[in-house]
């Protein structure tokens, strides 16, 4: 029976899946609506309810089909797109342009994003100050709120933040799914250490210059959020770097390799999040007794977290973002979500259910604002 269910992709009965989805339904309803959906503005009321039902449908399907990654990716990719839409829409409405100017910097009005966090650390420790022209508290994307959200998520999910929380990750995750087959098959997985080199470089340069150098010079996502007005050779060079890195690492290479190359080869925050994987309660485990060493998981892992040697040892490396792709691909269910301290191969369902609840709740609530905002924009365009 289990086999038949696996073949048709159904792991739990309809009723049982509904029961498992009920806590998410109730708690996300409270978080999204405050217990009282407001329909005084019909567009925002409808957008809110559509998003609420949609995220809960995805969560239900995770239980019903037993698959994780495909439903996670739908929300994750929509999150990335709507965050960019929200930021660009804000910029165009307030400033009539996607770029910010010197006055915005002088008045400390730049929205803060979590990729700045690694560069804040040394200056915060040594100069007791933050090197970013944003708002410490209050206003859109303020520094304190973003740091709290990232800290909370990283403490609990570790690098899971990179598949369940980061509003940029959905870009290369999305492009890595465009082709069915890989056009480039061989990439040395030594490149996965590159983010640590970038991390070291940006931490040092940011400390020495007291400017967030990654944001000023490297971040590919400037191409889809906001960047400095092009007024000089320097700003034109920066815009060129942002666009080329976005085109190369976020679009072309993920399409060709089916890997998340920006997250694997560049992002300094991804490097820090990887280290946090060492302490988080939730992990991905390999049950060596069930594993037949087919290496399907190694092939599909988008973040180079698995290797043949690691599989033989029953080890998942610290680069794992808990996306669930390998778990969905494993024909023997040998690789699974686990809880630190609990041996591989035991309490698989319990661990998965608990992990899914925690990680999906974070993503659903974190992503709902921008998605509702985007849907509202679309509804306004149509009606």
């Amino acid at each position: 029976m289990d086999n038949i269910l696996t073949i048709v992709g159904m792991q739990k009965s309809f009723g049982k899946s509904l029961l498992y989805s009920l806590p998410m339904f109730l708690i996300s309803f409270m978080f999204l609506t405050g217990g009282r959906p407001d329909f005084s503005n019909p567009a925002s009321g409808i957008a809110l309810m559509v998003v609420f039902l949609f995220v809960n449908l995805l969560y239900f399907l995770m239980h019903y089909t037993g698959k994780t990654d495909r439903f996670r990716a739908v929300l994750f990719i929509i999150f990335a797109l709507s965050l960019s839409y929200t930021l660009i829409h804000n910029m165009l409405e307030v400033r009539k342009s996607m770029s910010f100017n010197q006055a915005d910097i002088l008045e400390c009005k730049i929205p803060f994003c979590h990729l700045v966090i690694p560069m804040m650390l040394l200056p915060a420790a040594f100069t007791k100050s933050i090197i970013f022209p944003g708002s410490i508290i209050g206003g859109f994307a303020n520094i304190s709120a973003m740091v709290v959200l990232w800290l909370g998520a990283t403490l609990v999910l570790g690098r899971g933040f990179c598949s369940w929380g980061c509003f940029y990750g959905g870009w290369d995750d999305g492009f890595s799914r465009v082709r069915k087959r890989r056009a480039i098959k061989q990439i040395s997985d030594l490149w996965k250490w590159m983010p640590f080199a970038v991390l070291l470089m940006v931490m040092l340069t940011a400390a020495l210059s007291l400017t967030p150098t990654y944001c000023s010079w490297i971040c590919p996502f400037k191409a889809v959020t906001e960047f400095e007005q092009v007024t000089s050779v320097e700003s034109a060079t920066k815009a060129g770097i942002f666009l080329s890195l976005f085109g190369g690492l976020v679009v072309v290479l993920p399409v060709m390799t089916r890997k998340r190359t920006q997250c694997s080869f560049l992002c300094p925050l991804g490097a820090i999040s990887s280290l946090s994987n060492k302490i988080t309660p939730f992990t991905v485990k390999i049950d060596k007794t069930a594993c037949t060493e087919c290496y399907k998981c190694v092939e599909v892992c988008p973040l180079f977290a698995l290797s043949k040697e690691g599989i033989k040892e029953g080890e998942v490396s610290l680069f794992c973002s808990k996306c669930g792709k390998c778990i969905d691909a494993c024909p023997k269910k040998a690789i699974h979500y686990g809880i630190r301290g609990i041996p591989a191969g035991t309490m698989k369902n319990f661990s998965r259910n608990l992990f899914l609840f925690v990680s999906f709740l974070f993503m659903a609530v974190f992503s709902s604002g921008p998605i509702i905002n985007t849907l509202q924009g679309v509804l306004k365009l149509i009606f």
Binding site: I27, F31, N101, Q102, A103, I105, L106, E107, C108, L122, P123, A124, A125, F126, T127, K128, S129, I130, I131, F132, P133, G134, I136, I137, N142, I143, S144, A145, V147, V148, L149, G152, A153, L155, V156, L157, A207, L208, L210, T211, T280, P281, F282, I339, R340, G341, I342, P343, S351, L354, F357, V358, L361, F362, V365, F366
Partner: protein, 155 residues
């Protein structure tokens, strides 16, 4: 030992569950607590530094800020002083500034707001050039680049 590990793991996982559940409802209070931490203030390179004196005229005020030479471990030799004009500004602004409070004017700055043109004349070798001159939501802001010259080398 195995049992202790399992119990500790489960406990840690449930703490994780609680952290995520309280994270969003508690976000305002957690972030306002964090914002009170001693390191949670913007570096003067971004704020422009504290206001050192305020020159008040009929319809506008000019804030002259404390010169900023902040560096990572020690002060730098180059820095800036920021000037902010606030209120209803005339089309043409012209002010002479004594930024180091030694009783002698250090530079003169003239802004033509309609032409978006700023001119700068230095009377002090330490006041070098205009780094930024821009309209802002509150009026106009200028940053003048400064160079620390040892007293012995001053003319």
């Amino acid at each position: 030992m195995k049992r202790v590990k399992i119990v500790a793991g489960l406990l840690w996982a449930f703490i994780g569950l609680i952290v995520i559940i309280i994270l969003f409802p508690g976000l305002n209070s957690f972030s306002s607590s964090l914002s009170r931490a001693p390191f949670m203030k913007l570096n003067p390179r971004y704020t422009g530094g504290a206001v050192s004196k305020q020159l008040i005229s009929e319809r506008c005020t000019l804030d002259v800020r404390v010169p900023v030479f902040n560096g990572f471990l020690k002060e730098r030799n180059t820095g800036f002083v920021q000037l902010d004009w606030r209120g209803t500004l005339p089309d043409k602004i012209c002010d002479s500034i004594d930024y180091d409070e030694d009783g002698v004017k250090d530079f003169c700055i003239a802004i033509d707001r309609t032409e978006m043109k700023t001119t700068f004349e230095s009377y002090n070798v330490q006041a070098k050039n205009i780094i930024i001159s821009t309209p802002t939501s509150y009026g106009w802001a200028v940053r003048i680049g400064l160079l620390k010259v040892p007293k012995s080398k001053l003319p």
